[in-house]
């Protein structure tokens, strides 16, 4: 039974670690499907994490934190939108700038407001999203295998985790079964067709950016007030980039995105557990070797060695109406 417990524990932390990736990845999916490249996911994640922790610490309520997290991501999205939709600037550069802006501002404001070397105050349980016990979880937890799986894996997560897993089928439905989704995909492939049909390219792209901001804002909130009890410097730690990699890996589709994020989360969970562990035959696997796996896998995919990842056609190109 020890083996089963170990596996359940690893899978449990896989879920925890995958949540911010899933949210950021879906966020990127909306914007990239609409033709806006979003290198700035990392920055939005970080800014949202900081805003959520700061607001929750000041107002004493997790929901204010969530609102602030989404608000911060929306502000970043607005800058990105002005630069890349209205001013037709380079979207990659704008994203890079937003990442630095988040890195600089969160530390600077954190130090000025809270004077704790970049940390926000430690949050109390009521200021956070805490684990929820699902119905009957207590009763069945002693049932072997199934009960354990229900208790450890399915029950006992926080609200945002359930939201993230729900967001995947919803995204698939929106994208492939609604008029809005069809238009969204069209504007990323051929904005001219959308324009000719009398639909505003600008409005559609802004709508996509708003959804992106809401999702990545929730992801950032998860980092600081659900997974942890406060913000610390650079706590997104490259997750925005990993989400971007996952998005490419999933070829901009929601279902595969979930699987890839879970896989990257699993690698992360394994990496935490194998530190110092000696495998038979192989010996000790350096932590760094597992850390780089998501990046190396993505590069192999990008290079077209395992299938081809083809981005939405108009992605990264500002739309100019003909004069």
């Amino acid at each position: 039974m020890q083996f089963l417990t170990d596996v359940t524990l690893i899978l449990d932390s896989t879920i925890r670690l995958a949540v911010p990736l899933i949210l950021a990845c879906l966020a990127g999916l909306y914007s990239e499907r609409a033709g806006i490249v979003d290198i700035g996911l990392e920055g939005k994640l970080l800014a949202a994490a900081f805003a959520a922790a700061a607001a929750s610490a000041v107002f004493g309520n997790a929901w204010w934190g969530l609102l602030a997290g989404i608000g911060a991501a929306l502000m970043f999205s607005a800058i990105h939108g002005i630069a890349s939709i209205n001013l037709k600037g380079n979207q990659t550069i704008s994203g890079v700038a937003l990442n630095f802006l988040a890195a600089g501002l969160t530390t600077f404001l954190g130090q000025s407001w809270f004077h704790r070397g970049g940390y926000t105050p430690q949050l109390q349980p009521e200021q956070r999203f805490t684990p929820i016990t699902l119905p009957f979880a207590d009763q069945v937890k002693d049932v072997p295998v199934l009960g354990e799986i229900y208790w450890e894996l399915i029950s006992g997560h926080n609200l945002i985790t359930y939201f993230a897993f729900l967001a995947v089928p919803v995204t698939a439905w929106v994208l492939f079964r609604t008029r809005f989704g069809l238009r969204l995909r069209a504007v990323g492939e051929n904005p001219k067709a959308i324009d000719t049909a009398g639909i505003s390219v600008t409005a559609l792209r802004y709508q996509a950016l708003i959804i992106t901001a809401v999702l990545v804002g929730i992801g950032g909130t998860y980092l600081s007030i659900a997974q942890s009890a406060g913000f610390n410097n650079n706590m997104s730690a490259g997750r925005g980039y990993i989400a971007l990699a996952a998005l490419i890996f999933a070829k901009w589709r929601p279902g595969p995105a979930l699987l890839v994020c879970l896989m990257f989360g699993f690698l992360d969970a394994v990496q935490l557990r194998v530190q110092g562990f000696k495998f038979p035959y192989i010996g000790e696997v350096p932590v760094q070797a597992i850390q780089v796996l998501p990046y190396i896998l993505t590069i192999i995919l990008l290079a077209g060695f395992i299938g081809r990842a083809i981005a939405p056609k108009a992605s990264g190109i500002p739309y100019t109406k003909e004069r």
Binding site: A83, V96, F100, L105, Q111, S112, Y295, T298, I299, A303
Partner: protein
């Protein structure tokens, strides 16, 4: 009727206004937390230029930023966005330390060229792979260079902690390079720089600026490079091998970025330490955009960022309310306004010109 702006407005005034805008917003942010931005600027100016040691540090940072800025600029002229100088410099550090330790004890006049070559080779290799993947497999360098930064961090972390670290040292670092082998610091020749780490790599940076200018605007290779950047299809039609060009240019950019390691590993630390690049590669992105990827612009903006970084250190002592990260914020605003929103002020400026300047045909 829109009419084009005069060249000097386009080349100098517009970027300058964008930088001023970035600093104004930076100043507002400083004011919003109840600090005085003018006082901060005063302290930073004194810290960066007011005394010998401070000035030496400014030049030391400037050296890093020139190389990183050139690494971005070179690729930029060819239409490639190299976000990887950070990782290229880090891997370049491996070349520098391996060369230095191999000839440890040799006089620097012989050792430093070896360090430069080895560093350049390692940095070039690290940038060549994304170049190859772009040229042959069509994977975008923007994404691959970002990913290569992460891979560099993990790989170098492993190599430093597990391979290069000698027995008997507790922190994660390589064996030290002997004093005689290290890149000599300017304070050995000029008392002015008394405690600062600026070293002869600074002169190398000045030479690199000139070389890049000559390469881009006065050689056949530079012409091909710019042709590729302006119109890849036309370049191809003119008989330029775009694939070959992309790989060569990326490798050159990586070699350029690796010089940051000569400055740091060879000239200051005298050993390879974890994360020695410390963001200098990323500053290169801001430097390149602000300097419009022109060597003169790169030199000026590298000096500005050098002064900001050194002045920022001083600021942290004198005004504890302002942390060094304010500099990262300024850096972000500079990238945003000069890079992504570079044309924001163009239309208002064009209107002003149309009203006050005589029409182009009137002369």
């Amino acid at each position: 009727m829109r009419q084009p702006l005069p060249r000097w407005v386009d080349v100098a005034l517009l970027p300058l206004l964008n930088v001023v805008l970035a600093f104004l917003i930076g100043g507002l942010i400083v004011m919003s937390v109840g600090q005085n931005p003018l006082q901060a600027v005063g302290i930073m100016l004194y810290g960066a230029f007011g005394y010998g040691s401070g000035f030496g540090y400014t030049l030391y940072y400037t050296t890093d930023f020139i190389f990183a800025g050139l690494a971005v600029s070179l690729a930029f002229h060819a239409g490639l966005f190299n976000i990887g100088p950070e990782g290229q410099a880090y891997v370049g550090g491996l070349g520098v330390i391996l060369a230095a330790l191999a000839v440890n004890g040799l006089h620097w006049a012989f050792a430093v060229p070896l360090m430069i070559l080895a560093g350049a080779a390692f940095g070039a290799f690290w940038a060549f792979i994304p170049g190859y993947l772009q040229a042959k497999r069509g994977s975008h360098v923007v994404i691959t260079t970002i990913l290569f930064n992460f891979i560099a961090t993990s790989m170098m972390g492993y190599l430093i902690a597990r391979v290069l670290k000698p027995a008997g040292i507790n922190s994660d670092e390589s064996s030290p390079i002997q004093m005689i082998t290290r890149v000599p610091q300017l304070k050995d020749f000029f008392g002015l720089f008394n405690h600062s780490p600026v070293n002869i790599t600074f002169f190398l940076a000045i030479i690199a600026l000139g070389l890049v200018y000559w390469l881009i605007w006065h050689t056949k290779f530079g012409f091909a490079l710019r042709a590729l950047g302006h119109n890849p299809a036309a370049a191809n039609y003119a008989g330029i091998s775009n694939e070959k060009m992309i790989m060569i240019i990326m490798a050159m950019a990586g070699a350029m970025a690796a010089m940051v390691a000569v400055n740091n590993v060879g000239g200051v630390q005298g050993r390879l330490i974890l994360n020695f690049v410390n963001g200098a590669g990323f500053v290169g992105i801001a430097v390149a955009f602000m300097g419009k990827a022109h060597p003169i612009g790169v030199a000026l903006s590298a000096l500005l960022f050098g002064a900001l970084y050194q002045g920022g250190q001083e600021l942290a002592f004198s005004m504890p309310g302002i942390t060094r990260e304010m500099i990262v914020t300024i850096q972000a605003l500079v990238i945003l306004f000069t890079g992504a929103m570079g044309d924001m002020l163009r239309i208002p400026l064009e209107k002003v010109w149309a009203r006050f300047a005589p029409p182009a045909g009137a002369k």
